[in-house]
């Protein structure tokens, strides 16, 4: 397991989350067990501080994988773009 290469995921934060985190996007290499959108969210929340509060289970956070709205069980693959954002308010 320790020798398995980590996968790279592009993560995008939008609107209130972008402002709260102070970052619009980053490339992360989560450990191999992080295989779903939900697991990625939990892994990022484990950073603590504003990450823990904004991504806490009770917060309304939407996710998209490769530009499609995705549920928490959406699988992740190397090179995926995963976005986290608040409920949308356009129109």
């Amino acid at each position: 397991m320790p020798d398995t290469p980590a996968i790279k995921i592009d993560v995008v934060y939008l609107a209130r989350l972008r402002e709260a985190f102070g970052v619009g996007s980053e490339r992360v290499e989560p450990p191999q067990g992080v295989a779903t959108a939900r697991a990625l969210r939990e892994w990022l929340a484990a950073r603590g501080g504003v990450w823990a509060s904004e991504l806490a289970p009770g917060r309304a956070v939407r996710m998209a994988v490769n530009h499609d709205l995705a549920g928490p069980e959406a699988p992740l693959r190397a090179g995926d773009e995963v976005a986290f954002f608040p409920p949308v308010t356009g129109g």
């Binding site: 995008v12 939008l14 609107a15 209130r16 309304a60 998209a64 530009h67 499609d68 709205l69 976005a83 954002f85 608040p86 409920p87 949308v88 308010t89 356009g90 129109g91």
Partner: protein, 157 residues
């Protein structure tokens, strides 16, 4: 081009004219224009900034338009959504639907704006006298979109 995200304003006459141009089947055009209200949840709004998620936005809007075309017998549909800084009374979004008959054009138009409100990645930030704030999503928008849900095993999306 049926789906556009742009900073600049749009002219409703010109856009609806282009949408129905050259198709003699069109007898009905249903349209919706969303505008910036001056007052939102009791606070006066000075300006509003619209952010979106490039790449996903166009894909989400196109999927909504495609679903509307598959569900109703319409001729064509158009969505234009502005981003950037807007002032009260500015136009935000235009949805236009053309068809042979009005009932289907109205339904498809309302379907598109209801789903845009819940599925297209746009976010509004308002500048008010009390400071800037992100607009909260409305439960009523989820309700509006939910009423279009088809029964299980019903006619296709």
């Amino acid at each position: 081009m049926p789906v556009r995200v742009q900073v600049q304003d749009f002219d409703v006459s010109r856009e609806l004219g282009a949408l129905r141009a050259g198709d003699a089947r069109v007898g009905a055009v249903a349209a919706f224009v969303g505008t910036v209200r001056d007052v939102n949840d009791a606070a006066a709004v000075a300006t509003m900034t619209l952010e979106h998620y490039p790449g996903m936005t166009e894909k989400a809007l196109q999927a909504i338009v495609d679903e509307a075309k598959s569900r109703w017998d319409i001729v064509d549909a158009l969505v234009i959504h502005r981003v950037g800084e807007l002032a009260p009374a500015d136009q935000i979004v235009l949805v236009g639907v053309t068809g042979a008959h009005r009932g289907e054009a109205f339904a498809a138009c309302e379907f598109i704006i209801d789903h845009l409100k819940t599925r297209a990645p746009f976010w509004k930030k308002e500048a008010t006298p009390a400071g800037a704030r992100w607009v909260d999503a409305r439960a009523s928008d989820d309700d509006a979109a939910a009423r279009w849900r088809l029964p299980e095993g019903g006619p296709g999306r």
